[in-house]
């Protein structure tokens, strides 16, 4: 465990030094993420110009939900995105050999190599959106609620990580995961919608079968309505299940990997 912590810290140090070398790049990518978050908030404000509620959620409740969804996604972007995105390319080009030769768990080495400070900076912005919405709603969560909120955001991060791994692992079968990675972003769009908006087939598919709705709704509900054991257990169980599935698919895919280099 300590060995992996040291490996991760070394990778994080390298990423931060690299970011300091390319400060312009850091600024551009921070702006990119900031713009995309603004786009999501703009969508809400435009719709609420013409309607009072979406599935019973007011504008600031929706903002809190979207902020929570963005918070989870920013953590994913900050801690894992670049490494997992590179995985798709590396499998195609054969550069994935490099990770197979490293002394450690291949999935850990592959998915934690790079850290993106721009994603983490914007996690602060996303947290600010959540705080602003909570303030507008006059919410006063207890320390326990805030702790549970953080715990469920972590579960959400595990689920997002697993979905991304599952999407990109397609590269082992398809040769190129270009476009497939975009599937992750499509699926996470559901996490910006309130659970009450889903009915019939969409309810069965996106609330019960895929964890894309509960991932943000569960933590947001804690701030809005207080701690709910049912939602918390549901999300924690899903996080464990989806992580196990991601590990299984990743290693099944790895069996198909045939180096393309030399």
């Amino acid at each position: 465990m300590r060995h992996y912590l040291n490996v991760w810290l070394a990778s994080a140090r390298y990423s931060i030094v690299r970011t300091l070398m390319f400060r312009g790049d850091f600024l551009v990518w921070s702006l990119v993420e900031f713009f995309w978050m603004s786009v999501n908030l703009l969508l809400i404000s435009v719709i609420y110009r013409h309607t009072q509620s979406i599935a019973g959620w007011s504008q600031y409740q929706m903002m809190l939900l979207v902020g929570t969804s963005m918070l989870i996604q920013r953590f994913l972007m900050g801690f894992f995105w670049s490494s997992i995105f590179d995985m798709g390319r590396n499998v195609r080009t054969g550069n994935f050999d490099f990770f197979l030769a490293q002394p450690g768990n291949i999935m850990f080495m592959t998915t934690t190599r790079k850290l993106d400070p721009d994603g983490l900076i914007n996690a602060v912005v996303a947290g600010g959106v959540v705080a602003y919405a909570a303030h507008q709603l006059n919410l006063h969560p207890s320390l326990l609620d805030l702790g549970m909120y953080a715990g469920l955001v972590l579960c959400g991060l595990v689920i997002h990580y697993s979905i991304l791994i599952l999407s990109v692992s397609a590269v082992f079968w398809l040769t190129s995961a270009q476009g497939v990675e975009g599937g992750y972003f499509t699926l996470t769009e559901f996490s910006r919608l309130p659970r009450e908006a889903f009915k019939g087939v969409s309810n069965a598919l996106f609330v019960w079968f895929l964890p894309v709705v509960v991932v943000s709704n569960a933590p947001a509900r804690i701030l809005l309505h207080g701690f709910d054991l049912g939602w918390a257990l549901w999300l924690a169980g899903l996080a464990a299940g989806w992580f196990a599935l991601a590990v299984f698919v990743f290693y099944r895919g790895l069996r198909r990997y045939a180096s393309a280099s030399s």
């Binding site: 790049d25 990119v32 013409h50 509620s53 476009g179 497939v180 599937g183 699926l187 559901f190 969409s202």
Partner: protein, 269 residues
């Protein structure tokens, strides 16, 4: 003239072949687009629950707008052309074009047309599967003029899409990494191109400004013609402005190419 055309026909055929190699990627991408459509249906369905019309249009008209844009995207959008051009410049592959009697813009455009033919054909597969589910949500106006106006509008939209991607690709002559700019521009395009919401839902003053920007003519304009969100007068005015933007962007492309080549250094044999 015919010999010149033959060069680009060959580039087009190569483009067809190389895109067909990744056919499953496009099909998968198409299926994921259906998920995006599901988000649109759920979100706007919930928004319309308390009101009959939003921005003067009912739920069916709004959903038709989004379905139309989704399909158009596969026929006229630039996918990763900017990235491909950037890679060719960065890796020095562009050097071969400097020594041959071939216009790089036309070469890339031939490949772009081929790619859109492939992606356009492949989106039909997931679309056919989705049709029974979305059929009841579709409602199109049947004015004859829309059929006449839509062909030039779509052609010009494709040219704008490609030209903007080409411009971003050209930036590689000045910047090592352009992906940040590209994704930043995607955020702007998704808002001002009407992919996030119909632009007519914006405040009147903002909408008026958007009409004079090139992004409006990338997706919203042809989508609005097809789905009846704009009338004949607006469509004709739009075509004029759209033509102006195509000319301006083509000139900018040429300028960036000439200026960029001055900075370019070809190394190796």
């Amino acid at each position: 003239m015919i010999a010149s055309f033959e060069k680009y026909r060959q580039a087009f055929l190569v483009g067809l072949q190389s895109n067909i190699v990744y056919r499953w990627n496009f099909v998968v991408r198409g299926f994921f687009s259906l998920f995006h459509l599901a988000v649109v249906f759920i979100l706007w369905g919930a928004a319309f629950a308390g009101t009959e019309k939003i921005g003067g249009f009912d739920l069916r008209q709004t959903l038709t707008y989004f379905i139309t844009l989704l399909v158009l995207q596969f026929f006229i959008s630039a996918f990763n052309e900017d990235y491909q051009i950037s890679e060719e410049i960065r890796n020095g592959l562009i050097n071969q074009f400097l020594l041959k009697p071939i216009n790089y813009f036309l070469y890339r455009f031939s490949i772009f047309v081929a790619a859109r033919l492939v992606t356009g054909a492949l989106i039909l597969l997931p679309l056919l599967i989705a049709l029974p589910f979305v059929h009841d949500s579709l409602t199109f106006p049947v004015d004859g003029w829309r059929f006449a106006v839509i062909i030039p509008a779509l052609t010009l939209s494709a040219l704008i899409q490609f030209s903007i991607a080409y411009c971003f690709g050209m930036l590689t002559f000045w910047f090592l990494e352009i992906q940040g700019f590209v994704i930043l521009s995607m955020a702007i395009e998704s808002v001002l191109g009407g992919q996030l919401f119909p632009l007519d839902l914006l405040p009147e003053s903002v909408y008026r400004v958007a009409q004079f920007l090139p992004f409006y003519y990338q997706m919203y304009f042809p989508g609005a013609i097809i789905t009846g969100r704009i009338d004949l007068t607006q469509a004709l005015q739009g075509l004029l402005i759209q033509t102006g933007w195509v000319i301006a962007l083509l000139l900018l492309n040429q300028l960036l190419w000439v200026r960029g080549l001055r900075r370019h250094t070809a190394v190796g044999g």
